[in-house]
Structure formats: C-alpha cells, structure tokens
C-alpha cells in the first residue's frame, strides 16, 4: 500500500513538475550573439485545430505552429524567443489535473527553459505568460525589435464564452488579448510588429485595440486556413531583417504567406499589412458606426448571431469612405468556388453584415 502511494506521488510529480533546463542571468553578455530581436509566440491549442492537406494527411494546427516557432527560435542567433503553447486541460487517472500550458524560452538559438505551467484559470488576460516574460526577458542597452504573434481561432469582439474548449465558462475576447499586450509592452511603448494568425482578424475594432500596442499589424480579414501564415521568413532575421525596416519586412512576410496559402488552399485567402498610424483616420471615421453595430449584436441570442455574417467593409456604404485604402497593403484572392469566387478586390477591412 505504501509502495502504491509512493508510486502515485512519483508519477504525479513527474507529470506536473516544472522542467527548467538551464537558468541564466537576464543580463545580455554583449557577445557576438547580442540579442537584437525579442519574439513572443502565443499558440492556442485548446480547441479543434485539426485540418487536412490536399493529400488527406491530417495535422493539428497548434502542433504544426509550435514546430515552426521552435525552428524560428533555433534559427535566430540574435534573438530571444518566448513560446507559450496553450493546451487542452487533461487529467491523470481522471482526477488529477495536469498543467495546461507549456512555456519555451530560447536565447541565441539555444533552448534555455522549458516549463509546464497553469494558464489563467478565470479571466484569460495572459497573467501567467506575462510573469514568465518579465522573469526571462533580456536586459539590453540597445532597443530590441519586438514582435508578438498569436495563432488560434477567431478571437471574438464580444462575448467570448467557450473560446477554450476545456473551460467552457471562461471568456476570451480581443479586449483580453489587448490587456495581455499592454502588460507585455512594459519596457517599450509598442510592438514593432504584431501578427494575428486567426480568422477575421482585420476588423476595425480588432486593429484599433491591438494598434494601441503595435506599430504594424499583419492579419487576415477573412477566414484564415489553419495552415496559418508561413513563418519561414522569421528565420535568420539577421539576414531577412538586416536593414531593420520592419514595415518592408512585414510586406515580404505577408507576400510569402499569401503565396503559400494560395498554392495550397481553395478557399478565400486574405493577408493584410496595417500601418497603424496611417489607418487611424479610417478607424476614427468608422468607430461610432462599428461600435453601434457591436452593441446591437451583443444583445442577440446565439441562434440569431449565427445568421449574421461578415463582409468586406467596402460593401457597407457608410464605411466605404476615401480613407479606407490608406495604410493597408492587401494580398487577396477569392475562393475558387462559392458565391464570392468572382470578387476581385478586398478593402482589407472586415465588418458585420448587419
């Protein structure tokens, strides 16, 4: 009996204990591998992320993105890379909850830390992720180029209940993501680049919220296939981002992602680069109308909400204004089939058809 209890304790501790591979001083040593880039990946995996390629092979989007994020981390000798993998809640022997997050920290291409952690159990504001970031973030005399990347399903603009399959009562909305970004930008006013790998990320509300903490944003205003964006241009940033011109890099990243998606996907493809400063006029002009729409939608039942679809903002007369094209670089191809297969252009902004 005593042996059994001991065995269970050992198994439990091995299932849930933190695994810190190596601890290091936060002080950057100023070596040849000086840290110039700071990249944060948040990969949501607490839901259905299964997809198939055209040969019928199945993949889990979060696992594939994690693999690619690790490759980015290892291929960047001048970067620190934080990867947060938000996983489904699982239990050992039906009763003992296992940690539902995994954290990786790479610096100079080396894995420094890998820990299992608890995600926020009530509100999803990235509190625990922020804590890890503050503990491991390098101290550097020079300014970093900061990037934030989020991959997951469409983040709701309101409501947000059920975003995490394991926590059906917990809410997660764009507002929660914005709170997380605010806490992650403590030592710099804004991220140089934010990449939102979700469906319907290019709405006026989402870009305005995330734009408070980002200078340039890449997002998909329409549905985004679960193969997400091509991350290979984030590898070897010392070559790909040599001149430190982040907006130009963002356009190359978007073009490369667009090329890969259009090659593999028959559904609609839209990748847009938003220059946050230049889109402000448009955002200010549509803010009131868009918020009135959101307020109306908030009062609807789930069943009625299902009937409300998204559309290109330029399809709504009040939003089709002269500034709609300012500050956006749009890479768009319609779906090969379906009602919109002849749609040739997209404004880069997605609204509610209401």
């Amino acid at each position: 009996m005593r042996f059994c209890c001991l065995a269970i304790v050992v198994i439990l501790s091995s299932c849930s204990s933190d695994i810190v591979l190596k601890s290091e001083s936060q002080q950057d040593t100023g070596s040849a591998f000086e840290t110039k880039y700071s990249i944060i990946f948040v990969i949501h995996g607490d839901g259905d992320y299964l997809y198939h390629d055209t040969s019928g092979n199945n993949y889990n989007a979060d696992e594939e993105t994690l693999k690619n994020a690790k490759k980015v981390a290892m291929e960047n000798p001048n970067a620190e890379v934080f990867i947060f993998h938000q996983k489904s809640s699982k239990h050992f022997m039906f009763f003992f909850p296992l940690k539902d997050g995994e954290f990786f920290y790479y610096r100079n291409g080396q894995l420094i830390a890998n820990e299992l952690y608890w995600r926020d159990q009530e509100k999803s504001n990235f509190d625990n992720e922020v804590r890890y970031y503050q503990s491991f973030h390098s101290v550097n005399q020079n300014k970093f180029i900061n990037m934030f990347l989020y991959f997951g399903h469409q983040i709701p603009e309101f409501g947000g209940v059920g975003y995490d399959e394991s926590y059906p009562d917990r809410k997660f909305t764009i507002d929660n993501l914005a709170i997380g970004l605010k806490d992650l930008t403590i030592d710099s006013s804004k991220f140089d680049l934010t990449i939102l790998g979700t469906c319907f990320g290019g709405t006026p509300y989402t870009i305005r919220k995330l734009g408070s903490f980002s200078q340039t944003i890449i997002a998909s205003p329409e549905n985004l296939h679960l193969s997400y964006f091509d991350l290979s241009s984030l590898e070897r940033l010392n070559i790909n981002l040599k001149n430190e011109d982040v907006p130009s890099f963002a356009k190359r990243f978007a073009q490369q992602s667009f090329n890969k998606l259009t090659k593999n996907v028959q559904t609609e493809v839209s990748v847009v680069v938003y220059d946050v400063e230049k889109v402000q006029n448009f955002l200010n002009s549509v803010q009131n109308d868009y918020n009135i729409t959101l307020d109306s939608l908030k009062g609807m039942t789930e069943a009625n909400l299902l009937k409300i679809k998204h559309c290109d903002c330029s399809d709504i007369p009040v939003h089709k204004i002269s500034t709609i094209n300012n500050g956006v670089d749009v890479f768009y191809r319609p779906a090969r089939f379906g009602r919109s297969k002849n749609k040739q252009n997209h404004s880069g902004w997605e609204c509610w058809k209401y």
Binding site: Y51, H52, S88, H225, A303, A335
Partner: protein, 144 residues
Amino acid sequence: MKTIIAFLSVLVMFVLVIPANAGGKGELQKHFSNIANKVKATENVAEKRAILENSFKDMSEALDKVQSSFLVSKEDQDGIENLKVTLKENQDELAGINGYERVPDSQLNNFSSYVVQNMEQADETITISVVALVLIILLVILLL
C-alpha cells in the same frame, strides 16, 4: 426498445472513444477528407461527380434525421441548420443550379478540397455538441 438501447450504447461508446479535443468535429472533417480522397483516386469524371453527389445526399439525410431527433438541443438544431445551408450551397454549385455555374469536370478534385477546407474553417460546426456530431457521423456510416 432493444434497438434504441443498442443504438444508445453504441453512441455512448463512440462518445467515450472520441478524444475531447477532437470534439466530434474531427470525425466530420475526416469524413469529408475521405470523400475528397475517393474523388481524387478515380480518373472517371462521372464517378467523381457521383461520389460527391452521393456524399452530399447522405450527409443531408443524416443532418435532417439528427435535427429532428429528441436527443439534440435547440442550439444543436440551429447549428445543424447552418451546416445544412453550407452543404446545400455545395450541392447547388456541383449541379450548377440556384445561380451557380456548374463545377467544371476539370475542377472536381479542387472542388472536393474546397469542400473539406470550407468545412474545416466553418464556424457553424463549432456550435454543434459532441453528441449531435457523433450522431451525424453514425448515421452517415449507416447510410453508406
């Protein structure tokens, strides 16, 4: 009565076997992916078209049956209704009716991929419960 008990037992076993994170939706996606593989595996255009037509027909029947079942909630019924609309549009496009251009013979492989990808990113299936999704899959298997 025995049939109902046997059916419910199979349903319970199915629900227990399917991992929670697959949520039943994975099985639905797998079904459409298998259909696409069958379409791509044959050279015969008429056969490709027939595989797609029959799969849409079987799925529609399954959706109708589950939607009218006492086992599903009002939310599930609404979710299924949305799925039916998507499926009907695919059917119409394949046949070239209700304002759609008929999918050309040369595009049937790509169309089968489109159906899979469209289903994978369709938000309406997310609102359907595991039980309802499992019922749909069970009925599709029985109809095949």
